[in-house]
Amino acid sequence: MPIMSSTRPDSSSARYKRFAAIVTDLADDSTSIPAYNQIPVEGLFRLMEMYRYDAFKDETHSGVLAMSSASYGRRHHQMSSKSWHLPIKQALDSTMNEVFAGKPKEDAVYEVEIILFQMSENAPLTQEQQVQAKSFFSTFEKALVL
C-alpha cells in the first residue's frame, strides 16, 4: 500500500481560478503572451467549449477490457469527480449574466471565444475586447469559490 492515498481530489475550480486570473492580466497585451501562458488561454477555450455544448463528461477511461475487481475507493472517487463541473458551470452562468446581461448564450460564448482565439494567436485585442476580457475573466475568478 502506498505511503499516502493515491486518490486525487478534484482541483478544477482552483485551476480555472488561476487561469482566469492569468488571462485577466494577459488581456493587457495579447501580442506577447509567452508559450507557457498559452496553457491557461487554451484551458479556458476548452472550458468554454464544454460550456457551449454542455458537454462536461470529461473522465479518463480505463480501457475496453478492464475487468479487475472493483476498487471501491477508486469508484467513490470517480463518482464524486462526475460533478466536478457543477461549481464551475454555476460560476460561468453567473458571470455570463453579469457581463453579458440579456445576450443569448451562443452570442456571449462566441464573444469570449473569439477573444481567446485572438490571444492564442498573439493577435491584438480591440479596446472593447480588452475591457470585456478583463471584466469577464475577473468576474469569473471571483465567482469561483474554493
Binding site: 487554451e42 455544448y53 463528461k57
Partner: protein, 451 residues
C-alpha cells in the same frame, strides 16, 4: 523545506527526466512536439510556483497535482520507444487518430483546429489496450493522446483493432463531438432500449428472476460481501453512464474496423470472462455487448458480404465462431435490431465527416488475393507478379487485417495464429512502401501501367 520549495525542486527533477526522454527514439514524427508541450506545461507550473502565495493551500495543492500528472505522463512517454509496439499498425492508426481527435472549434465564419500529439506505449497485461487523452480540464496547450498496447501482443495486429473502441472514448472527450454523439446515441439507442432507458429499469432487469445464475451469484456476492443491493447498485458499484458509453464505443470500433473488431472482441473479452456474464463496474455484460455488436454487424450488412468460393467457407467459419458467442436467452435481449440499425446508420453518417475513419466494404477480389497470400505464408499486400509484370493495388490496412481473420478461420489450415498476425503486420509495412511508390509522381512507366 516548505511545500512550495519542494515542488520547485521537483520541477527541476522533472525537467531533467524530460531531457532524458530524448535518449530514446519515438518514430518519424519524433519527440519534438511532446518535448515542447511538456516543457511548456512544466514552465507554466514553475512560473506559477514563483508567484503563488505559499499559504494558498488550494493553489499549491492544485499545482502539486498538475506536477504529479505531468511526471506520470513524462515517465510513460519514456517507455514508448519504437521497438516495443507494432509501428506499421501504429503509423496507419495514427492517421485515423489525428483526423478524429483534432479539436475543431467553430467560430461563426471560421473553424479553428488544434491537432493533438499522439504517442504510443506498451504496457504489461493481456488487456491493456487503451487510449489516454488529456481531459479538457487538465493542464495542456496541445492535447496529448497516448495509445497503449499490451507489450506481449506486440505483433498481434488482428487484436489491435480493439483500439477502435478506445478511439471512441478518446473522441467522446471533445465537447463538439460529445454533443453530437450524445444526441445520436441517447435519442436512438438509450431511449429505444426497454432495459437501458434509465437506471431504475436496468437495476430492475439485473435483479429480475429471469437473470442468469452467474449474474444472480455476483449480485448476491455484492450484497453479502459489500452490502451493495439494488438500491445502490449504480451508486456504490457500477457506473450507468460508463456502461452506456461502452455500447457507443463498441459501435465506433465496429464502424472503424469492420468484422475484424468483432473477431478481436470475441477473442479478448471472453478470455477472462468465458461465459460473458460477469457484472462489472464500468462495462456492461460481455454477452450483451456481443449480442448488440452482432445486431450492428447484421444491420451494416457485414454478414451478407460475399467472397470468392475459395474464401467463402473461411468467411462462413469466421461468422460461425462469432455467432457462437451470441446469447439466446431472452434476458439478454436489451434492444431491438431496428433501434441498433438507426443508431449505427446515424453514427456512420457522423463519422463519415472524418477522413479514413470508416471501414468500407472490401473489394472481394482484394480479400481473395490477400487471404491466399496469407495461406501461402506470404505477407498480404496489394502486389502480384503476372506474365504482364508486377501488378499493384492500394489496399487499406484494415483489409489486410480482415484477411487475417478470414485466414485464421480457414478450415483445415495449419498456419499458426501468431504467424498470421506477423504476416499481416509485415504486409501492412510492405503496403506502405507500395503506397509510397504509387503516390510517387516519378514512378516507373511500367509500374504506372500496372497500377
Amino acid at each position: 523545506m516548505r511545500p512550495v520549495d519542494f515542488l520547485k525542486n521537483e520541477c527541476e527533477n522533472l525537467l531533467s527526466v524530460l531531457d532524458q526522454t530524448l535518449r530514446y527514439d519515438y518514430g518519424l514524427e519524433g519527440s519534438r512536439e511532446f518535448y515542447e508541450e511538456c516543457g511548456q506545461r512544466l514552465e507554466y507550473i514553475q512560473a506559477s510556483l514563483e508567484l503563488v502565495d505559499p499559504t494558498s493551500t488550494h493553489i499549491v495543492r492544485e499545482l502539486a497535482l498538475n506536477l504529479e500528472f505531468l511526471s506520470e505522463l513524462v515517465c510513460r512517454i519514456e517507455r514508448s520507444s519504437l521497438g516495443e509496439y507494432s509501428w506499421p499498425f501504429v503509423e496507419e492508426f495514427k492517421e485515423i487518430s489525428k483526423a478524429l481527435c483534432t479539436e475543431k472549434r467553430v467560430l461563426k465564419d471560421r473553424v479553428v483546429t488544434r491537432v493533438p500529439n499522439v504517442h504510443v506505449i506498451a504496457e504489461g497485461g493481456l488487456h491493456t489496450y487503451s487510449i489516454y487523452s488529456d481531459a479538457n480540464k487538465q493542464l495542456s496547450k496541445r492535447r496529448i493522446f497516448i495509445i497503449e498496447f499490451p507489450r506481449t501482443l506486440k505483433h498481434y495486429v488482428l487484436f489491435h483493432t480493439i483500439l477502435g473502441h478506445e478511439m471512441g472514448h478518446a473522441i467522446y472527450n471533445i465537447p463538439l463531438i460529445q454533443n453530437e454523439l450524445d444526441e445520436i446515441f441517447i435519442e436512438n439507442f438509450v431511449k429505444a432500449s426497454p432495459v437501458f432507458k434509465d437506471q431504475p429499469t436496468v437495476v430492475q432487469w439485473l435483479y429480475s428472476e429471469a437473470a442468469p445464475q452467474e449474474v444472480k451469484a455476483r449480485l448476491n456476492h455484492l450484497k453479502t460481501e459489500h452490502s451493495i443491493d439494488h438500491d445502490d447498485f449504480f451508486f456504490a458499484h457500477a457506473d450507468y453512464d460508463a456502461w452506456l458509453q461502452e455500447f457507443l464505443c463498441d459501435f465506433i470500433g465496429l464502424l472503424m474496423f469492420g468484422p475484424s473488431f468483432l473477431g478481436a472482441v470475441c477473442h479478448l473479452l471472453y478470455s477472462n470472462d468465458p461465459l460473458g456474464r460477469q457484472v462489472n463496474e464500468e462495462h456492461p455484460l460481455t454477452g450483451i455487448r456481443a449480442n448488440t455488436l452482432l445486431l450492428a454487424a447484421e444491420s451494416l450488412g457485414y454478414t451478407e458480404w460475399k467472397f470468392d468460393q475459395s474464401v467463402q467457407p473461411a468467411v462462413d467459419a469466421f461468422w460461425k465462431d462469432v455467432y457462437e458467442k451470441q446469447e439466446t436467452d431472452p434476458w439478454f435481449k436489451v434492444i431491438s435490431k431496428e433501434a441498433v440499425k438507426i443508431t449505427v446508420d446515424k453514427l456512420q453518417a457522423f463519422l463519415a465527416n472524418f477522413p479514413k475513419t470508416l471501414y468500407q466494404a472490401p473489394d472481394p477480389e482484394n480479400i481473395n488475393h490477400l487471404v491466399h497470400q496469407i495461406l501461402d505464408r506470404c505477407p498480404p499486400v496489394g502486389y502480384k507478379f503476372t506474365s504482364e509484370g508486377p501488378q499493384y493495388r492500394q489496399v487499406d490496412f484494415r483489409d489486410i487485417i480482415f484477411a487475417g481473420w478470414i485466414a485464421q478461420s480457414q478450415p483445415g489450415s495449419t498456419i499458426k495464429f501468431s504467424d498470421i498476425n506477423r504476416l499481416c503486420e509485415h504486409g501492412i509495412m510492405q503496403q506502405v512502401s507500395i503506397k509510397k511508390m504509387l503516390e510517387n509522381p516519378k514512378k516507373p512507366e511500367d509500374n504506372k501501367k500496372a497500377a
